[in-house]
């Protein structure tokens, strides 16, 4: 095993990251409130997005797509398109910091957990 590449860019620690299921994109969420999207092949940065008002706690790709779900301490969960960098959706029904996210493998539902002791489940209809 050897170290292949170091990626620099975030000003504060990266709290969470995820790799897209096709292995081409890496998304990192940091305490500096930015989401950065990197290419896995050369380690080049595609885009830095200032999405949230507080630390990004969890980043998850939806399988077989380039959609990224992010959760933050600012009580919001957002969905971003990793190719066009547009914010697709934002969910702000939390009453505490959102700590974690999990997405089902076909992307039909996802779960978010929060400091308000609630587990919230979304589903596509």
């Amino acid at each position: 095993m050897k170290l292949l590449l170091n990626l620099y860019g975030h000003k504060l620690p990266v709290l969470s990251f995820d790799i897209s299921s096709d292995g081409t994109l890496l998304a990192t969420g940091s305490a500096d409130k930015n989401l950065k999207i990197w290419g896995m092949q050369f380690g080049d940065i595609h885009k830095s997005l200032f999405l949230h008002q507080d630390s990004i706690t969890c980043v998850k790709f939806i399988r077989d797509t380039h959609y990224i779900l992010t959760s933050s301490k600012d009580r919001e969960v957002k969905m971003v398109d990793g190719d066009s960098y547009e914010e697709v959706f934002s969910f702000d029904c939390f009453f505490g910091a959102v700590w974690g996210l999990a997405v089902s493998s076909i992307g039909d539902y996802f779960v978010a957990v929060s400091a308000d002791k609630c587990i919230r489940v979304w589903r596509q209809t």
Binding site: P13, D18, V88, F89, K117, C118, I119
Partner: protein
């Protein structure tokens, strides 16, 4: 990945519901590979939830019930291993636990790290190891440790130490690429 697809996704999202659950704030969630289980962890316990996928497909909403609850304090990271029989847990004091869902008990308790285990991830078929599963744990003690999962003759499984990587700072996360050739980790700097 066209614009039309994006608007479609935005249209169909809806809040399904809220589950009252833990007594303390919920810190993390992990989904199983088959979608029908997810686990949540809080400071005081770990809960496993079962999702009824049949009702999900028929459009009648998701039927979710809490299946198991494990009173294990200080769990920080989780991974549901393929097959949905075992849960791998990482704790605040550096322990790695193998939790069997069928018997609702911890079958193996390792202490590979001296500080918080921030993330656990697995790969079912890494190129360096033919056929066996590799589990990586990222810890605040500046190491990433790899364990292989081996099946013993009596059918139970066991974690065996495989390799260790030392880094320059606390490791916040570790993940494998889908092809299993590489892994990525993030540091506190």
């Amino acid at each position: 990945m066209e614009a039309g697809e994006a608007s479609e996704v935005a249209k169909v999202e809806c809040v399904y519901g809220e589950l009252p659950s833990h007594k303390m704030e919920v810190r993390g969630v992990a989904m199983s590979a088959t979608d029908n289980y997810f686990a949540t962890n809080s400071f005081d316990s770990v809960k496993v939830w079962n999702v009824d996928l049949h009702t999900a497909q028929s459009g009648n909403g998701l039927n979710i019930e809490c299946k198991q609850s494990l009173e294990e304090p200080n769990v920080l990271s989780m991974a549901i291993l393929p097959g949905n029989k075992y849960l791998c847990l990482g704790t605040k004091d550096g322990q790695l636990l193998l939790y069997e869902l069928g018997s609702n008990s911890v079958v193996q308790r390792l202490h590979p790290h001296t500080k918080e285990v921030w993330e656990i991830s697995y790969h079912t078929n890494p190129v360096s190891l033919k056929g066996s599963m590799l589990i990586a744990s990222a810890s605040a003690d500046r190491t990433i440790k790899f364990h292989t999962l081996a099946q013993k003759s009596d059918g139970s499984i066991q974690l065996n130490f495989y390799e260790k990587i030392e880094t320059t700072d606390e490791v916040m996360g570790v993940k494998f690429t889908p092809d299993g050739k590489f892994f990525v980790f993030s540091l506190l700097d």
